[in-house]
Symmetry: C2
Subunit: 149 residues, 2 copies
């Protein structure tokens, strides 16, 4: 599991710094119930409720930074705003199937996708950070509702 000290090491390696805010954000995501993900706004409110308020600027900055570092995954579940979740290694690595009508989201696993992503990145000399298959579709329940597309 990704620890605060490995975060610090990775940051320092690039001349960046471990701040209390970054530590807090990492911990929030690590303690999040499985399958949950947060938007910037969600995280902002959650932190306020816990009395650990962090400014929205800092939240946006660090969500982006930690995604680029491969610590978080940036999910495009619904249109209009992004969600984030912790990026876990192989046995927990998963993908998303989203109903574009009701936004119901299902996580599923498929090792061959990750393998293919890893292989492709390697072949091109890229350093893999994350590899996610996102499927937008219409769930059975919404299909039955017969609403027009």
């Amino acid at each position: 599991m990704y620890t605060v000290s490995s975060l610090k090491a990775e940051l320092n390696e690039r001349g960046w710094r471990l701040t209390p805010q970054r530590e807090t954000i990492l911990q929030i995501f690590q303690n999040l119930p499985k399958g949950q993900h947060l938007s910037a706004e969600d995280l902002h409110i959650l932190l306020q409720e816990e009395g650990e308020a962090i400014s929205l600027s800092t939240i946006y900055r660090n969500l982006k930074l930690m995604s680029r570092m491969g610590i978080l995954r940036e999910l495009e579940l619904a249109e209009g705003h992004k969600h984030y979740e912790i990026n876990q290694p192989s046995p927990y690595h998963h993908h998303h199937l989203i109903c574009v009508r009701c936004n119901k989201t299902i996580e599923f696993k498929n090792d061959s996708i990750l393998k293919m992503g890893a292989k492709t990145a390697q072949k091109e000399g890229y350093h893999l950070l994350d590899c996610q298959l996102t499927i937008h579709a219409i769930c059975p329940s919404c299909q039955r509702s017969l609403l027009p597309v």
Copy 2:
């Protein structure tokens, strides 16, 4: 001088449309006293005062669009926000010298800069939209004030 009908022609050529809002924005810039330039917010307020209110979204969208079309020039006079002015052809084409302390701005001309820009763009097969030399400096008056840098 750039006319409404040439704007319409250029827009339509790309499958875009001439709207009353775009026409209004063009006219505002054409009637602006020489050497004046507006920020998005300036333009928004100016239009409200004239009773021709256009939404901020539309203003931002069109300032960017018209800059990319080469109709307006996007100026970075002071940090933090952009200013726009009409983009005029050769005899009126000019550059800017800005005091980074007091923001006093001087326009100056230099045909060889435009020629060089045109030549460079052409050599690379680029289509020239605008070519501006922006000089940030400290004006004599601010130098005399002896404030620390």
